[in-house]
């Protein structure tokens, strides 16, 4: 049995080896190089990076935007997932198409569409004016608000689907049991439905957050140079400034944040899973 088990384990080797060499190794080298100084290991580049106020602003902005995007997506996605779980027939198809079609499109198409939508003479502004809500065009393009809305729109399917798939698998007797035991709708929601849907919320939020801190195309098209995020700084360092050490440092910072998000959400998922 052991020999057979070993042989099966060997099947994973080609894929693992490939990823290890082409994916993990370069990332590790990047991290290593960022702490490599002239005389040995040093954190000088990091210190330089963080002491610059501009960099700190960018870092804080990146985190803030990602957080707001995740929250907005969650607020929209949670009720939507519930509606989807009750949808049947044609309605379910409509939901699924509305989610899967944008996912299949690609970032550039969508970011581009939002950049059109947010213009002064764009659809949103003309609609607002026609409805009489505003008198003049509202400046939306190049604002952080627009970025959060656009990003939330692009990442929304990745928040809805994990929550939906968890809710869908919920034993429908559980809320009924809660009611028959005397739970008011609110008690039932907070003590049964919400805790049980949490794994989906964690998975969706972690994924959305990591996509949001890494995004490049969306901020480029919606806010441009005026309000940069970490990814944009990285691109600028490499493609325009030709400042590789700086670019590598910023990349390392972003990478560390991303790894942290992965580890934290796995731990959280493990904690939730352990009780279920």
């Amino acid at each position: 049995m052991n020999a057979r088990s070993d042989r099966i384990a060997l099947l994973a080797v080609p894929g693992l080896a490939f990823l290890a060499v082409i994916y993990a190794l370069p990332l590790l080298l990047l991290l290593f190089k960022s702490i490599q100084g002239v005389d040995g290991l040093t954190l000088v580049t990091y210190i330089d990076f963080f002491s610059d106020e501009f960099n700190r602003t960018v870092l804080w902005r990146t985190l803030r935007v990602a957080l707001l995007t995740t929250l907005l997506a969650l607020v929209i996605a949670y009720p939507t997932a519930f509606a989807m779980a009750r949808a049947k027939g044609i309605w379910l198809t409509v939901f699924l198409v509305a989610l899967v079609l944008p996912m299949s499109l690609g970032v550039i198409v969508k970011a581009f569409a939002w950049s059109i939508l947010f213009r002064s003479n764009g659809f949103i502004n003309t609609t607002l004016q026609t409805l009489g809500i505003t008198d003049e065009p509202v400046r939306m393009l190049f604002t952080e608000t627009a970025l959060v809305i656009g990003a939330a729109n692009v990442f929304l399917p990745f928040m809805v689907l994990p929550i939906y798939s968890v809710i869908r698998q919920l034993n429908s007797s559980l809320p009924e049991a809660a009611s028959s035991l005397g739970a008011t709708p609110w008690f039932r929601f907070t003590r049964v439905t919400l805790p049980l849907s949490l794994p989906g919320v964690v998975a969706g939020s972690a994924f959305t957050f990591s996509l949001a801190i890494s995004m490049y195309v969306i901020p480029s098209l919606i806010v441009g140079e005026r309000q940069q995020t970490l990814s944009m700084l990285i691109a600028r360092s490499f493609l325009y400034l030709r400042n590789e050490p700086l670019g590598s440092t910023i990349s390392a910072v972003l990478l560390v944040i991303a790894i942290f998000v992965v580890l934290f959400s796995s731990w959280l998922a493990g904690r939730l899973g352990a009780r279920q």
Binding site: E176, A177, S179, S180, G182, T184, R188
Partner: protein
């Protein structure tokens, strides 16, 4: 009819009164003017094949499903307009529906917490009821670690700790294996009796219903065909359906060819059968008799039929003879103990007392 809130009602036959309940799904009426009464402290079963409406009725009583018309009156209180969480009717679900994210103790405490009790106050009642179902050592375990029988006990504890006015159980034993089932049935019955709980079981297993119930409502197509004690259902089934569903039987269809002195003579495919009944000549009927009342060695005044044996099953405590059946007719004879001397293909004569014949009119 206005329900009276008198002490008398509390103890009368009408502890639970289901009045005129009608339910239709998507235009099809599945239950029409259902009336159903249970006395306080009674253990009752709703028995029937799947689709007969027993689960629908249970859910309507629990408040998990809304009836189109009708009232549910419990202990003098009309609960029809109350949502499920205000009815004080507990339900034990078929798959137990234990909350996977809570421990055993937290599951049991759930109903009490929902009613506003603090976590300190629930400790004692929870411990008591867990001890009652012998699950006290499992109090802090996650429910995923429990076996089927253990889960069922926790589900029952959870339902009982809130002192419900009525307990509903939806096929509570179906997920357990045979041996465990019998043990749990005995335990549960004793537990409910000791606390004077009024309970309604839903089941498709007639042995289970017979084992736990004071009375059984045999249901078919949204109607109660007969609501009586198990012994009455067995010995005096009100319809062919009840006769077939509760217990086994030998049965044959035939036509009444003579009627005199309270005895009807029926011509069947295997011989003439007499029964204590009054029908007009020419009526189509189904006659039957319980297998253990048949003897392969009949005396002269008994009904006698000729049957060709198809199978002989030696089951230890009984020997079952199967006759070759044609159409809807069935031939079963149960003899106690181990009997030898019967072989497949043999033609034998079976007989039984005229008084034991069960007879029902059927549509032509």
């Amino acid at each position: 009819m206005q329900p009276k809130t008198t002490e008398q009602d509390q103890k009368s036959h009408r502890y639970l009164d289901v009045v005129g309940v009608t339910k239709s799904f998507k235009g099809t009426v599945v239950m029409d003017q259902m009336n159903f009464r249970v006395a306080k402290g009674e253990l009752v079963s709703l028995l029937g094949p799947s689709g007969c409406g027993k689960t629908t009725l249970l859910r309507i009583i629990a408040g998990l499903l809304e009836a189109n018309t009708g009232d549910i009156v419990l202990g003098g209180r009309n609960v029809s307009s109350l949502p499920a969480h205000k009815r004080n009717i507990s339900v034990v679900f078929q798959n137990y529906a234990l909350f996977p994210h809570l421990t055993v103790a937290e599951n049991v405490a759930f109903g009490l917490r929902a009613r506003g009790m603090s976590s300190a106050d629930v400790k004692a009642p929870v411990a008591d009821v867990l001890a009652l179902v012998r699950m006290d050592s499992f109090a802090d375990r996650p429910v995923s670690a429990l076996s089927g029988g253990q889960q069922q006990r926790v589900a029952v504890a959870r339902a009982l700790v809130v002192s419900p006015d009525l307990l509903l159980l939806d096929e509570p034993f179906s997920a357990l294996d045979r041996k465990l089932r019998e043990t749990m049935q005995i335990e549960l019955k004793a537990l409910l009796r000791s606390r004077g709980i009024t309970a309604i079981f839903v089941t498709h297993d007639q042995e289970e219903a017979m084992g736990v119930s004071d009375r059984i409502a045999v249901m078919s197509n949204g109607k109660i065909e007969q609501f009586a004690e198990p012994s009455v259902l067995y010995a005096q089934p009100a319809s062919p359906f009840v006769m077939d569903f509760v217990g086994l039987s030998t049965r044959m269809s035939g036509r009444v060819t003579a009627q005199a002195d309270g005895i009807a003579t029926v011509e069947t495919g295997v011989g003439a059968v007499r029964a204590h009944a009054g029908y007009t000549v020419g009526t189509m009927v189904q006659v039957g008799v319980r297998p253990e009342l048949i003897t392969p060695d009949p005396s002269a005044e008994m009904n006698q039929i000729k049957v060709q044996l198809n199978d002989v099953m030696t089951l230890g405590s009984k020997t079952v003879l199967h006759g070759i059946s044609s159409g809807e007719d069935k031939f079963l004879c149960e003899l106690s103990g181990i009997r030898t001397g019967y072989a497949r293909g043999e033609t034998v004569t079976w007989g039984w007392a005229v008084a034991d014949t069960l007879i029902h009119e059927v549509a032509a």
